[in-house]
């Protein structure tokens, strides 16, 4: 079962056990709740925007290892980025986990490249993208989103 390790890479397991930026953000001026009705995963993403820039971001909630690690690593990578940059990252990340990434295109995703194994597990794409959909909803000023 070596291929299992492609999905559950050490970095992913480590983030799922000790998620970063896992807290409420009292000063948040953007916030959204994301929900995957299929498995019950539920995350809230908090954002403090400074003009067009994501000054601070955090999340809370419950979900599987993939969704939690994805949320944790997302908060790390988008902190300090502009809205447009965050959107672009989501686009690349989405391509990565659905197996549509151009070869060599993983470089701009940095550490997020560890999620490439998800493309072999179509049922888990929604887990990997839940936090990102929630981020997008928060940036667009929506209160809630689902993966459906």
């Amino acid at each position: 079962m070596s291929d299992l390790r492609d999905l559950y890479q050490d970095v992913i397991l480590e983030h799922s056990k000790a998620p970063r930026n896992y807290r409420e953000l009292p000063a948040a001026n953007h916030k959204a709740e994301g929900f995957n009705p299929l498995c019950g995963d539920r995350f809230t993403v908090y954002i403090t925007m400074d003009g067009d820039s994501i000054r601070d971001i955090s999340f809370q909630g419950s979900g599987c290892a993939i969704s939690k690690a994805s949320a944790s690593m997302m908060t790390q990578i988008v902190k300090g980025k502009s809205m447009a940059e965050a959107e672009k990252l989501f686009e690349s990340f989405h391509k990565l986990v659905t197996g549509h990434a151009p070869s060599g295109g993983e470089a701009d995703l940095g550490k997020l490249a560890v999620f490439s194994g998800v493309s072999e597990y179509p049922a888990r794409v929604k887990c990997a993208t839940l936090a990102w959909h929630t981020l997008q909803a928060a940036l667009e000023g929506k209160q809630e989103t689902t993966t459906e």
Partner: protein
């Protein structure tokens, strides 16, 4: 493979021979033999069911209850023969009490919309239990909102058993309907339906039983149970999807208005007045799923030939073996430990999310269900979001349990 783990059940129940009846079980998944333990979601189909459906389309396809020609008469006869099989399967008193529907969900909605809208008034109460599937909650919510009625919920204990004392205290003269599952899909609990029916009837409240998870595992004798309505789905008892049965007592069905309007449910139509057809056709509007009914008939015959008691005995032995083995894995918490259980082994493993368990088991060829099982109130009772659920059928073996256990050990390794 140890000799102790070899599957030998009661005389006459040869599980290896039975497995050969199910073409899908011969395949490999991710290079491993398929271990199908998601039977509470849907069961696999024996060759007899698959053949019955193709033979119908190849040899007798025609609309029923309409034509005078040979094929139509043949299709009608075959279709109505299944109604008789379903009557015998449930031991209903009369074949007119058997209504073909799309499945358990549609059966419950039929009762809610037809019986409910004509009999439930503002201030009335509908009593359900905490262990119901969403399909036996939401139709009553829709009805209650429309009629101004109230839903009362009988609680379960921490073993996942219905609290019968609390149930009896919730019954009162305003209780106008009781809706309860025979076997819980999330916990496997078998409810004491006869006792529940007696209690409800002392308040003149009719009882609807959701039999979706019961009929594949135990004898559902509607006359012995005394229930007023009983619903089940074909696909959970080795038949096709999209077909199911609603049983209702004649006296109640006669009083109920049609659920849907259309062909087959009418005697005569003018633009002023329609005379509805007699039972059971009053509730079967439109061309039915004839092939589905034929397939269901083959499935019921298959189960009847093996004997539901033999099936139950074999399954109980496998479930008991699985429960002991899985419970012995460090970190496992069993969800649903009722004294009377059928088929279901629901569990959590430390703080590993059930979805991750499901993916790792899948890589080992083991198909289980992970999630809330459309029973979110049950999850809330146990303070969890989801469980991993293995559910067993007549073709499962102790060898498959061993593969399940090794795969759960693998989950522990990955998440160590």
């Amino acid at each position: 493979m140890s000799i102790a783990a070899k599957s030998v059940s009661g005389a006459g129940f040869d599980v290896e021979r039975i497995r050969a009846d199910f073409p899908i079980l011969q395949q490999k998944v991710h290079g491993k033999p398929l271990v199908y333990l998601d039977n509470a979601a849907t069961t696999q189909k024996p060759r007899a069911v698959i053949d019955a459906i193709s033979h119908y389309y190849e040899g007798s396809n025609s609309n029923v209850h309409r034509g005078v020609h040979y094929l139509s008469e043949l299709a009608t006869a075959n279709y109505e023969a299944v109604r008789e099989s379903a009557r015998a399967f449930l031991n209903a008193a009369d074949h007119r009490e058997i209504i073909f529907v799309r499945g358990t969900t549609e059966a419950i909605n039929l009762v809610a919309q037809s019986y409910g809208r004509s009999h439930i008034q503002a201030g009335d109460e509908i009593l359900v239990t905490e262990m119901e599937h969403h399909s036996n909650i939401v139709p009553w919510q829709i009805l209650s909102r429309e009629r101004g009625a109230t839903i009362r919920v009988a609680p379960i204990n921490d073993a996942g058993e219905l609290d019968l004392d609390a149930f009896s205290k919730l019954l009162n003269p305003n209780t106008k309907l009781v809706a309860v599952t025979h076997v819980s899909n999330a916990l496997g609990t078998i409810n004491p339906i006869r006792r529940i029916v007696d209690m409800a009837h002392s308040f003149h409240a009719p009882v609807l039983v959701d039999g979706a998870q019961a009929v594949p595992h135990l004898k559902a004798d509607v006359q012995a149970l005394g229930c007023d309505f009983y619903a089940f789905s074909g696909h959970k008892v080795y038949g096709p999807t999209g077909i199911g049965v609603l049983y209702g007592k004649t006296a109640l069905l006669e009083k109920m208005p049609p659920y849907q309007g259309g062909g087959d449910m009418i005697m005569s139509v003018t633009f002023e007045k329609t005379v509805y057809n007699r039972l059971p056709y009053k509730f079967e509007a439109g061309t039915p799923d004839i092939a589905g009914v034929i397939g269901l008939g083959a499935a019921l015959n298959y189960v009847t030939r093996l004997g539901i008691e033999n099936i139950g005995a074999h399954e109980n032995e496998v479930v008991r073996y699985a429960t002991e083995a899985v419970a012995a894995i460090p970190g496992v918490r069993l969800i649903g430990t009722a004294k009377e259980k059928a088929s279901v082994l629901s569990f959590t493993l430390g703080d590993v999310h059930p979805h991750d368990i499901g993916t790792i088991l899948d890589q080992a060829g083991v198909a289980i269900r992970t999630g809330h099982h459309c029973s979110q109130p049950v999850m809330q009772h146990f303070g969890i979001e989801a469980t991993a659920r293995a559910s067993f059928a007549l073709y499962n073996t102790k060898e498959e349990v061993d593969i399940l256990v090794r795969a759960v050990e693998k989950v522990r390794e990955v998440f160590a």
